[in-house]
Symmetry: C2
Amino acid sequence: MNYPSGIMKKTTRISHANRGMGLESDINITNKYYLDNNIAVVHKRPTSITIKKVEYPNNKYTKITDGYFKAASTTDYNGLYKGYYIDFEAKETTSKTSFPLSNIHSHQLKHISNIINHGGIAFLIVRFSKLNKTYAINGNFVLEKIKIKKSIPISDFETFGELLKEAYQPRLDYIKVIEKYIKELQYEKHN
Amino acid sequence: MNYPSGIMKKTTRISHANRGMGLESDINITNKYYLDNNIAVVHKRPTSITIKKVEYPNNKYTKITDGYFKAASTTDYNGLYKGYYIDFEAKETTSKTSFPLSNIHSHQLKHISNIINHGGIAFLIVRFSKLNKTYAINGNFVLEKIKIKKSIPISDFETFGELLKEAYQPRLDYIKVIEKYIKELQYEKHN
């Protein structure tokens, strides 16, 4: 089937709405924790939707009766940490051996490249659901890798990525990774 | 009528889709210019929508048949300029004398406050449509003002805000204002 980006995820999310499972849910809970504890301000970008028709069932609200999902032109999350702009995309894969880069669309790669060029921090959070492991990997690494390969092997995540700690609070602690990226960014600036 | 935030704007936008008028359109065109010319990366956050029902008319796409608008919990725009996180809300008013602060919701004010506390740049772009003038005004100023007044008089925009130049390209040049905010931010850091 020929769904544009993210559709399967979204429709899945609708039916599983109350289960609160999955990477997206973990990140949203983590972001709320960071916000409530004054650590970082990171929000999920709402899904882009084109609205074709609305109705007014009563005076209280507007009902969308015809709309469709648009392909994402940016990443899922962005925000602010210690004055630094951060931007990331979150993906799950059922593969046990590698993350297929076809999961990241060309306009999203362009966006990651733009963020890096303008002095921001861009990365991916990738969950290998069958391995029960979630990694962060630098956007720079992804942009270099995609020039030569169609996927990133798990060994690359182990070597060049950062395994994210999962716990009760914060659910998926990715701030330490950003601390590392900030150091790298400052190193590049001064060298 | 009891519409949540932004609804009137969105429904208006649907019927006027091809006219390309209004502040939102001007900012979107400006953002595209900034992106294409490698000046800044600023995107409009999509409107937050809760989807209640979808259908699959054929194998090609998912149709939203029941959904509604959610109140915005952040601002309309955010992005990155020279390594700085920027965040702003855009509003139009038909008033010739003042901008009513009831246009900015409490969760948006909290968001502006969060952005400033975490070292980002937050501001409003306000168009006085009947005066044909568009100003930027610092988030800090708005947060202070709302403690004592219910609106910001036009004289405050003239004195403390920045009149934005409107032209063919860029349509609404707000980058110079950000340059000013960056200088202020750096001054605060070092004093």
